[in-house]
Symmetry: C2
Subunit: 405 residues, 2 copies
C-alpha cells in the first residue's frame, strides 16, 4: 500500500481555509479529493492574499492557495442551477466523504443537507463545519476564525493585557484557527471511515470553529469549576519565571520554568546570579511572589546583558524551559525545523521548485506525499465529468449554460 | 455498535497535557485507555493548577485533571525497575495503540522506542510526541506548549505589537497548543488504525509541538515565498475594517470585514454613518488605507457610543462579520455555546454533578460519551494486573518493591 487513503474519494464543497485544509490532509495521505468551486467567482481563497487591493506577484499570491489545496483536483459547478446540483449529487453517490462549510441556510437552499445526501448514499461520511454550530440564533452568522475562533471563545481575552487593547489577530493570524479546526475535522472523518469499514454505517460529523476553540482553553473548565472571571494581567502580574525578557539585541525570549521551585537554583546559575538563590526575597515561591516586581526588574537587566543567541546557548545547556520568540521568516531557517523536515518541496508547473510546510503528522509506513500541486481554476472539470460518464456534447452544453466554467 | 473505538486498547505513557488529551479523544470515542503514571510522583498534571503554591480547593484543582483524563483507567509503574518495564511490555503486546511523550533520551533509557515495541507487537500503532522533533541538536530540549508551540513557531511574534512586549501565554494559555497538537495526533492514530484494518500493517506516528504550530501559520508559507520579514504592527497599522473597538461599557469587539469593499456600505448603515459611504476619503480600499488613522478615529468614537450588547444586535442584523471578545466565564454562559451543547455533565464520585467541555468532534452514529470520570491515582493498577494474569501474590510483591504504588 502506497498511501493511507488510497481509493478514498472525497468531495470538498467549501471555500477559504478550514474545510479545504481538512480535505487537504486527506489528500496528503492519498485520497482523491475534488474541490468544487463556483464557476463565476472561484474559491475566494485564490485571491485572498490580495483582497482589497494589496499588490503581490502571482508567485507570492498562489502560496496560500497552494497551502490549502495541494494534492486536489478542482471542478466548477453552479449549484444555483439544477444541472449543477445533479452533477454534485452524482459525485456524492460515488464518494466516501463529503465535506462542506456551507451555512445551514445554504445547505437547505441547495439540498445538500445530510438527510438528503445520505438518502442517495447511506454509507457516506458527511462532515459539516460551521462557525457557531448548527442550531441557536447565531447559526447563520458568518464565522471567520478571527471572530468565531479567536474572539468569541475566550482565547483572545486570555492574550489581552490589562489596560490595553486586545492583540488583533484579524490580520495577523489569518486561518490559524481554521487550520486547527481542520485537524479536528480530519480526526472525525478518520473515525467515521474506521467505523464504516467495520460496520458498514455512514454518519454525519458536525464541528464548529467556536466549539473547537473553546475546547483548546483550560480557562474554560476552570471557569466552569469556579464560576469566577479570569482577570486581565500585565507583565508585572506575570511571575518572573514564566515571563518574557528582552535581550541585548532587542529580541525577546520566553521562560517557562514550571514548577518554578524545580528550576530556581539552575536559573540562578545559568544567569550567573548565584547570589539570588538564597536571597530571602526570592528563595521560595511565596517570597518571589511577594517581591515579584523587584525580581522582574533584576531579570530584565540581566537578560539585557547578552544577545538572544548567547542566551539560547546558556539556557539550553542549563536545562531550562524557554524559547526565543522567532518570526515566521526565522522559522523558515530554523536549524531544528530543517533537521526535522518541517518543509518539503516540489515542482510547480508555473513557479518551478517551491518549498512548503510538510504535513505535521508523520506516518512511518504510509507517509503524507505531495503528488501534485494545487489545481488551476477549473482544471479538472472535463476530466471529472468524463469519469461520471458525461459526453463531450453534454460538457459543451453545460459550458454554454454556465453550469461549469 | 455503541462506540466508534469499541475494543481498541490504548496504552498512554505520558504526562501533562498533549498526549493525555490525544488519548482522551480516543477514550471519549470508546477506546479502553490505560494511563501509566510514576508510582512515586503521579502525573504532575494532577496538581499542576496548584504548582508553586497557589491554593485551590480539590473541587477546583481536579478540573484540569478531569479535562485531560476522563474516560481512562490509571495504573502506576516504576519504569526504572525491570519488573515495571516488563509489565509495560506486556501491555504493549496486547495493545492496539501506544502513545508517549517521552523524549528520545528517555525512550532509550526505558527501551520504549518503536523499534523495540514493534518487535514485541508488529501491528502496534505507536505515537510519539516531542517538543522539537526526534532529531537535531534540540531534540531533547524540554518542550512546553508555551515555548515550543507559541514562541519558537512564529505564532507569538504575529501577536506582538510594535514597540511592546509580547503577550505572555506562559500562564494564560496553558496547554492550548497541547490541545491543538492532540487533535493532530488523534488524526494520525485513526489513519494508522484504518490502514492496519485494511492491510495488517502497524506503524509509527511522529509529531512535534513546534511543527504543528508552524503548520497553523499562513505567515510561514508567505515567508517561504517572499523571503521577507513580517513587520510588527500596532492598532494604527491595522485596517479599520478588521480592527477591534471599545464599546460604551468598556468591552471590546472585533470586526473582520473581508473583503472590505463588500462590507463598507453595510457597515456605514449599521453604524448609522451613511455620510461616510461616499466620502472621498473612505469610499475605496485605497482611500481608506490612505486615511486609515482618521477612519479608525471616527470608528473608535462611533463604537464608544453604544454598549457591546447593542452592537451585537446591530451588527448581526446587518450581516457584518464580527465578534465580541468574550471571557472564559462568559463563554460558559454563551447562549450559542449552550444551544449547541458545547458543555456536558456527569456524576463525579467526589464532587457530584460536574460540567465539562464536550468533545468538539460530533459524530451522529457513534458519538463521544463520558463513561467514567478521570481515574484516581493508582485506581486501576490491581484490576489491570489481574487482567494481565498476575496473581494477588505477585501484586503484593510488586507493591513491596515499589514497582507499583
Amino acid at each position: 500500500m502506497a498511501h493511507a487513503l488510497d481509493g478514498i474519494k472525497v468531495v470538498d464543497v467549501s471555500t477559504m481555509a478550514a474545510v479545504p485544509m481538512a480535505a487537504r490532509h486527506l489528500a496528503d495521505f492519498g485520497a482523491d479529493v475534488i474541490h468544487v468551486e463556483n464557476p463565476a467567482t472561484g474559491d475566494p481563497w485564490r485571491w485572498w492574499l490580495t483582497a482589497g487591493g494589496r499588490e503581490l506577484s502571482p508567485e507570492v499570491n498562489y502560496r496560500w492557495w497552494e497551502n490549502q489545496n495541494r494534492n486536489k483536483r478542482s471542478i466548477t459547478l453552479d449549484l444555483s442551477q439544477e444541472r449543477g446540483r445533479e452533477i454534485l449529487y452524482k459525485l456524492a453517490e460515488k464518494a466516501d466523504v463529503f465535506l462542506t462549510n456551507f451555512r445551514p441556510s445554504e445547505l437547505e437552499r441547495y439540498s445538500l443537507q445530510y438527510s438528503h445526501l445520505s438518502n442517495l448514499n447511506p454509507k457516506l461520511i458527511y462532515g459539516n463545519l460551521t462557525g457557531y454550530g448548527k442550531t441557536g440564533t447565531d447559526k447563520d452568522l458568518p464565522g471567520f476564525d478571527s471572530t468565531a475562533f479567536w474572539c468569541r471563545s475566550g482565547l483572545l481575552y486570555m492574550l489581552q493585557q490589562a489596560g490595553m487593547p486586545p492583540p488583533s489577530p484579524g490580520n495577523r493570524l489569518l486561518a490559524c484557527g481554521d487550520n486547527v479546526t481542520a485537524l479536528a475535522l480530519a480526526f472525525g472523518v478518520m473515525m467515521a471511515l474506521f467505523v464504516r469499514d467495520r460496520t458498514g454505517i455512514g454518519q454525519e460529523i458536525d464541528l464548529a470553529l467556536f466549539h473547537t476553540a473553546v475546547y483548546t482553553l483550560l480557562a474554560v473548565p476552570l471557569a466552569l469549576g469556579m464560576g469566577e472571571e479570569a482577570t486581565l494581567t500585565d507583565r508585572k502580574d506575570t511571575p518572573a519565571l514564566t515571563n518574557s525578557y528582552q535581550t541585548k539585541d532587542g529580541r525577546w525570549l520566553q521562560l517557562s520554568l514550571a514548577p518554578p521551585d524545580r528550576y530556581w537554583s539552575g536559573l540562578c546559575r545559568a544567569i550567573e546570579r548565584e547570589d539570588l538563590e538564597h536571597d530571602s526575597r526570592f528563595e521560595s515561591f511565596e517570597a518571589r511572589a511577594e517581591n515579584q516586581a523587584t525580581l522582574i526588574g533584576i531579570m530584565e537587566e540581566v537578560f539585557l546583558g547578552e544577545t538572544l543567541s548567547d542566551w539560547n546557548t546558556r539556557l539550553a545547556r542549563a536545562g531550562m524551559i524557554f524559547a526565543p520568540i522567532e518570526s515566521p521568516l526565522e522559522v523558515t531557517a530554523d536549524h531544528q525545523a530543517r533537521a526535522n523536515d518541517f518543509f518539503t518541496s516540489y515542482e510547480h508547473p508555473d513557479y518551478g521548485n517551491i518549498e512548503v510546510i510538510a504535513n505535521p503528522v508523520k506516518l512511518s509506513q504510509t507517509p503524507a506525499v505531495i503528488r501534485m500541486p494545487a489545481p488551476e481554476f477549473n482544471q479538472h472539470t472535463e476530466e471529472v465529468l468524463l469519469e461520471l460518464e458525461y459526453s463531450w456534447e453534454d460538457i459543451a452544453q453545460l459550458k454554454d449554460n454556465g453550469v461549469i466554467a
